[in-house]
């Protein structure tokens, strides 16, 4: 699929702020099933933007506005082509302990640092254990999480933990992913947090432009077919009860949200800010119209 994405963030400050430093992780990645053709950023007030790749390979855009200002606009535009990923491989549980798997998994197998015990997670954990193999565990997971928890904005906040989700019984995609990561890692399946954009058009509607939000899903490392062959990272979207496909536009991945926040910044000044953020996604393929 062929998309244009516009990610617009606007802050308005109650009184002027200064030294506003921000780091953006918003550029669609180029992967085996996705290509970013065009990418532009515009900052207002104007600022010099520098780029580098972070530890996880995500492009980071950084800028700073030293002098006083009462608003900040971050306007990001991208064009992306995606294709459907190959069918996920079937491998046995026993393949998760092979050297090849553990090496490919790296730190995405490790529990969070200093993670306190999570009350009430045992039952969910036990359900995953009933799956016949790791691929079946993923299929189970994408139903289990949304069956157990309600999607509700405001139930959690940006710094919420898995325990917060369990206590509230509700959360947003970020929380669903964090919980899923814990569940998979506890069963020896390496899993990483993915940040990106989702073309969230209902299948039976032919809309060609949508207002969306940044989205979070995860990638799990599945052992190769029959336990042989290379392990493969497979995208899984527990918020939407399915595997990630060509509707998912990946920005990058990390161990958890804090490794890949779309916009992270600090500024000097105690004034409160109001945030307006929206992502406008449009389908550019000629067949989009035909389907409608």
């Amino acid at each position: 699929m062929h998309f244009s994405i516009r990610y617009l963030t606007e802050y308005r400050y109650g009184s002027p702020v200064s030294d506003n430093l921000n780091a953006l992780r918003v550029r669609p990645a180029t992967t085996s099933s996705q290509r970013c053709d065009e990418f532009h950023t515009r900052i207002d007030p104007e600022a010099r933007v520098t780029r580098h790749l972070d530890y996880f390979g995500t492009e980071v855009l950084e800028f700073g506005i030293p002098t006083g200002h009462d608003h900040l606009t971050i306007d990001v535009r991208a064009r992306v082509v995606t294709s459907a990923p190959p069918e996920p491989p079937h491998g046995p549980w026993s393949a998760l302990t092979s050297d090849a798997y553990v090496e490919a998994a790296g730190e995405f197998l490790l529990p969070w640092q200093d993670q306190p015990p999570i009350a009430g997670i045992e039952e969910l954990e036990a359900s995953i254990r009933t799956a016949a193999d790791p691929l079946a565990a993923l299929r189970l997971l994408v139903e289990l999480v949304p069956d157990t928890f309600e999607y509700r904005r405001g139930a959690t906040y940006v710094g919420s933990t898995v325990s917060d989700l369990l206590a509230a019984g509700a959360g947003v995609c970020q929380d669903f992913v964090h919980l899923s990561l814990v569940l998979l890692r506890r069963h020896g399946i390496a899993a990483r947090y993915v940040s990106g954009y989702l073309w969230a058009a209902p299948e039976d509607e032919g809309s060609d432009s949508l207002e969306v939000d940044t989205h979070a899903w995860l990638e799990a490392l599945l052992p190769g077919v029959d336990g042989r062959g290379e392990p493969v990272w497979v995208g899984v979207d527990p918020t939407n009860r399915r595997f990630a496909g060509e509707t998912h536009v990946k920005i990058g991945h990390g161990r958890f949200y804090a490794d890949i926040p779309p916009v992270k910044g600090v500024y000097r000044g105690g004034s409160t800010s109001t945030l307006g953020a929206n992502v406008q996604m449009s389908r550019l393929d000629p067949q989009a119209g035909a389907r409608a």
Binding site: Y55, T239, V266
Partner: protein, 527 residues
């Protein structure tokens, strides 16, 4: 009380099997210590007690104190306990130590560089990657950044102990923000004031050029093209337990002592605020942990530090000493691999030995260790300053059970080591008499264009009889450490720096506004 005038030495009994550094096992002074012991006898027990009183009064007046946190009460200020009997190290012996330390620090520096770049030591299967990535001090934010001069471990303090067979062993590496150098300098100054007669028959190598060495090293890595590099010492503030040292070093180097609110990053360049406006900073000797240096990186929940500092560092516009991320090398599990690092990076055999160490992630090793936990020392991998250490032979049944449970719960967070029989040095007791007390040694190395090590270092002494806990926060004291001159002065500092100018004064005013952060939660609605 006529017996207080008795010589303080008569009753001295070295505690076999421990090695005493000044006495033979039969109780006679070692040759190198004879003149020193004679002088101490001349001063006498009463004299030593009197000098001790003068020392405490002076230290309190000068603010050379530290806080003890007793188990039964609040912290209190005490004069830093300097024992009046120095430790003596021969010139030959010191040369070996110095070579061993420099070798070790080069290897540790190479390890830090490797871990944040090619990871060759991991690919060769020498150090497990899992050990690196599970360390809370592994700094992903500085992956791929090579600091000015390729130096990461500008200031290193490796802790050494001397075994009963006379061999030196490294017990711990400190390559984050090791402290204690100010005590080395103050101890020497105090000793020459209080007991100048002890120095009469010795040529003791000076230590007071340390601030020059440090300043020279910082300038040598500072990225300043044409002008004189501006160096600052960054302290977390006057509430920090080592604040005295931060202020001391800044004053001695003639540079500004700053806090986060004095610093600001503009366009990837670090500045400090002065009465004349912003002044560019080229090198920062920082005395606080990675977690608190830049709220845009490291801890997402912290608003402390200087936003953008990691950007400036990445851009190569400022040198940070020690570099961000060095904590990955002084993890106590990584310590186990230092001899291998020396072979791998330098192609040399280690000059200094490690203490036999067990990594507890391996189940077989773990069970073996737990079966004899009462004979071993168990340490958390990422703490320093003796925090969380359990010494098997000295622990209660209950303490051993607790640490065993902690090890089973998170094996990779712990290591075990064989107990080292720390050597002893005669130490003045409250009665003015000398008794053997256990010691370790922390030499301080400075890495700029080359590695310089101040002769000696901080000798820490456990003041309680039989105790091997030398940390000052837990009742330890210190001793002046003498390295004797024998003609080799290769590590002399050279002439003092002529250009230690007085730094510009900072305005009294600090930035009043707090930092605020902005982040967006990911919350795309389900379809």
């Amino acid at each position: 009380m006529s017996d207080t005038t008795a010589p303080p030495i008569d009753s001295y009994n070295p505690r076999a099997p421990f090695l005493d550094e000044l006495f033979e096992t039969d109780g006679r002074p070692r040759e190198v210590a004879r003149a020193l012991i004679s002088e101490l006898e001349r001063i006498g027990a009463e004299g030593l007690t009197e000098v001790g009183r003068r020392r405490d009064a002076t230290f309190l007046r000068q603010g050379i104190t530290f806080e003890t946190s007793g188990e039964d009460g609040p912290t209190r200020e005490r004069p830093f306990p300097l024992d009046l009997v120095p430790r003596v190290i021969g010139g030959d012996e010191w040369r070996t130590l110095k070579r061993g330390l420099a070798q070790r620090i080069r290897a540790l520096n190479a390890f830090v560089d490797d871990i944040y770049h090619a990871r060759e030591i991991v690919r060769e299967g020498i150090v497990p990657w899992r050990l690196v990535v599970s360390s809370p001090n592994f700094a992903r934010a500085v992956h791929g950044i090579r600091p000015p001069g390729g130096v990461y471990t500008h200031v290193a303090g490796c802790d050494l102990v001397r075994h009963s067979n006379g061999s030196w062993k490294v017990i711990e590496d400190n390559v984050r923000t090791p402290s204690g150098i100010s005590y080395v300098l103050e101890n020497r100054a105090a000793m020459t004031q209080l007991v100048p007669q002890l120095f009469a028959n010795y040529r003791v190598r000076p230590v007071d050029h340390y601030p020059q060495l440090l300043l020279r090293a910082l300038r040598s890595v500072a990225p300043s093209a044409d002008s004189e590099a501006t160096v600052v010492v960054w302290t977390p503030g006057s509430l920090n337990s080592a604040y005295f040292e931060h202020a001391f070093l800044a004053r001695q180097m003639g540079v500004e002592l700053v806090e986060a609110s004095d610093l600001v990053v503009r366009d990837d360049v670090l500045y400090m605020r002065t009465t004349r406006g912003l002044e560019r900073v080229h090198a920062v000797y920082r005395r606080l942990d990675d977690d608190f240096v830049d709220p845009l990186e490291f801890r997402p929940d912290s608003l402390l530090g200087v936003p953008g500092l990691v950007r400036a560092y990445r851009a190569g516009s400022v040198a940070i000493a020690n570099a961000f991320g060095t904590g990955v090398a002084d993890n106590k599990a990584v310590y186990h691999f230092v001899p291998e690092m020396i072979r791998f990076y330098l192609g040399e055999e280690p000059i200094l030995e490690n203490v036999k160490t067990y990594l507890l992630a391996d189940e077989e090793v773990r069970e073996h260790v737990l079966s004899r936990i009462d004979q071993l020392v168990v340490k958390p991998t990422d703490e320093s300053g003796g925090k969380g250490v359990t010494i098997g032979p000295h622990a209660t049944e209950r303490e051993l059970e607790q640490v065993a449970a902690a090890v089973r719960a998170k094996p990779e967070a712990w290591i075990a080591q064989e107990v080292v029989r720390l050597s002893t040095v005669p130490t003045v007791g409250p009665d003015g008499l000398l008794a053997p007390r256990h010691v370790d040694l922390r030499p301080f190395a400075v890495f700029g264009e080359r590695i310089d090590i101040v002769p000696g270092g901080l000798t820490r002494v456990a003041l309680q009889e039989g105790s091997m806990i030398v940390n000052s926060s837990r009742g330890g004291g210190s001793k002046d450490t003498w390295v004797l001159e024998d003609g080799d002065d290769a590590d002399r500092a050279g002439p003092p720096l002529a250009d230690v100018s007085s730094p510009p004064a900072l305005p009294e005013m600090r930035y009043g506004d707090a930092w605020t952060n902005q982040q967006q939660q990911q919350q795309q609605e389900p379809q």
